[in-house]
Symmetry: C2
Subunit: 306 residues, 2 copies
């Protein structure tokens, strides 16, 4: 699967993934008003507005980026109607030729991770039938429980040609609270996790990179440089560009010598671009045009340093 | 909220939570057959069978235990129909007077954890309206991202009188891969996390214990003894009794001097008791009676060491 992602990046010349994280504060007000004409319950109104928002965003960026990354929390917060829109968003993205990174950050004991892996990337058997519940291409996974919680995802990667990104060094300000702690072997915890992710990845190679990737926050370029060399065949998903503070110059260290091996996520910087002075001329109704322009600017910005 | 849980444990004299983890291998075959008469799609058949299974289990144990713990992965694996049954299970448990611990193990950057906290424990605002998407009493939370990922849950605990259990030392065989690593200060990572959880908990005290609890696997009694003394006001949720290998004698160290401060989970040992020789006389159709008997035996077993 990682090869499919790398091919799509090469084809579109865009190591960029659009984060579909539809916090209601990003959704134009007129979409909520339209949804409120059709639905009564608050969660259904919100879900419908999010769906209209996502559909237009996907239409606007499908030909210029290789992938989208819906953050499931933003759908879970609208309960069952929200999760139904999460699923519709995955399906619609696939229809439009986009790969889908499910940002679910799941991770649990073995038997439970098996259920999560089947839910998000694989299939479940019910009697003689099989069904793919969410059917994303990649999922993000939390490593705190060790290999037990990862192995079922590795198995699904190999059986169904999917990929995962394991949290190694996250983009948030307090990520160092545990991840930067020094171990008795002189390594930081994130380095130790990175080395394990690299080793786990050897069991699911797909070309020069592995289907087992790593999440490394764009906000931590020095740590990324270290991890890039510790994990030579580990593809990096880098969130934190734009709104979280990282700039293109910070991102060079995430890529390999060929300018490959990483994809950078932006969420609100693209999907809520219409609120920024630079794209305000699009107006609220032109939110999708603003998103397209912001995505193009981000692609240009990254290309300038690669 | 932790006080409500402690009162319910005292009232029922049962520091036991029933894990509603309906892997299809635990669901009696006749329930799947019944569901298949009403539904055609595999995920809907599975979800309906799980719902009938849960409803009977809840009816069977509601008067003898204080709480249930649905593991959301086991519902997510059946997609939207599965998650709808997850929600119905929470609501039905509440109707029957049970507290609900949502075993979701969520955790993300701040803005995302805020959405998860609202989804599972709090409310979301849509225009002038507010709705409680899943409305559980407690949720389990992953600490790998540090305080940013925890703070939104703390805020929801204080605003809506809810509780969380942060993963400290998990029950699975490979939990030591990262959690047992020695830090340069001579502490194990799980001890460091435990001390942080204890400190975070001071911001949400509810009687002698905090609404911020910890997950400590019943399979690790020595680590639990250490954590019990490091976290004097942190309530412990202990999974791993029975099927995962822990016995009552192992659990004494999880409790305080008054025999309080912890609750022990059993999932398949109770919900799939009808498959064990000791309860086989109940038969498949008597799965709920078997579950009740197994829960009573577990309560008796734990009382014998407290």
């Amino acid at each position: 699967m990682i090869r499919k992602l790398m091919d799509a990046i090469r084809e579109k010349q865009a190591p960029v993934v659009v984060g579909l994280d539809p916090s209601l504060s990003f959704v134009p007000h007129f979409l909520l008003e339209e949804a409120a004409k059709e639905f009564e319950a608050p969660l259904e109104i919100a879900a419908e507005a999010v769906w209209r928002f996502n559909r237009a965003l996907i239409d606007a960026v499908a030909d210029i980026v290789p992938a989208v990354k819906p953050q499931i929390a933003m759908y879970e917060q609208f309960g069952i109607p929200g999760l139904a829109v999460y699923k519709k968003t995955i399906d619609y993205s696939h229809e439009k030729g986009l790969l889908v990174i499910a940002d679910v950050k799941r991770g649990d004991i073995g038997s439970t991770s098996l259920a999560y892996a089947a839910a998000h990337l694989g299939k479940v058997a019910v009697g003689e039938e099989k069904a793919a519940p969410f059917d994303a291409d990649f999922a993000t996974v939390n490593p705190y429980l060790g290999i037990d919680g990862i192995q079922p995802f590795l198995d699904v990667c190999n059986e169904h040609d999917r990929g995962i990104f394991v949290l190694v060094k996250t983009s948030n300000p307090s990520s160092g609270e545990f991840q930067d702690r020094l171990l008795d072997n002189g390594k930081h915890l994130y380095e130790e996790v990175g080395e394990k992710v690299s080793a786990w990845g050897l069991t699911s190679m797909d070309g020069s990179y592995s289907n087992v990737g790593a999440v490394v926050g764009a906000t931590y370029p020095e740590e990324a440089a270290r991890l890039r060399s510790l994990m030579p065949h580990t593809f990096i998903l880098a969130p934190g560009y734009g709104a979280q503070g990282a700039a293109a110059a910070d991102l060079k260290s995430f890529f390999d010598a060929n300018g490959e091996g990483a994809i950078v996520n932006s969420s609100r910087g693209i999907i809520a671009a219409y609120k920024k002075p630079a794209y305000a001329s699009c107006g609220e109704k032109g939110f999708a045009d603003a998103a397209r322009a912001a995505a193009q600017d981000m692609v240009r910005d990254l290309r300038s340093v690669l």
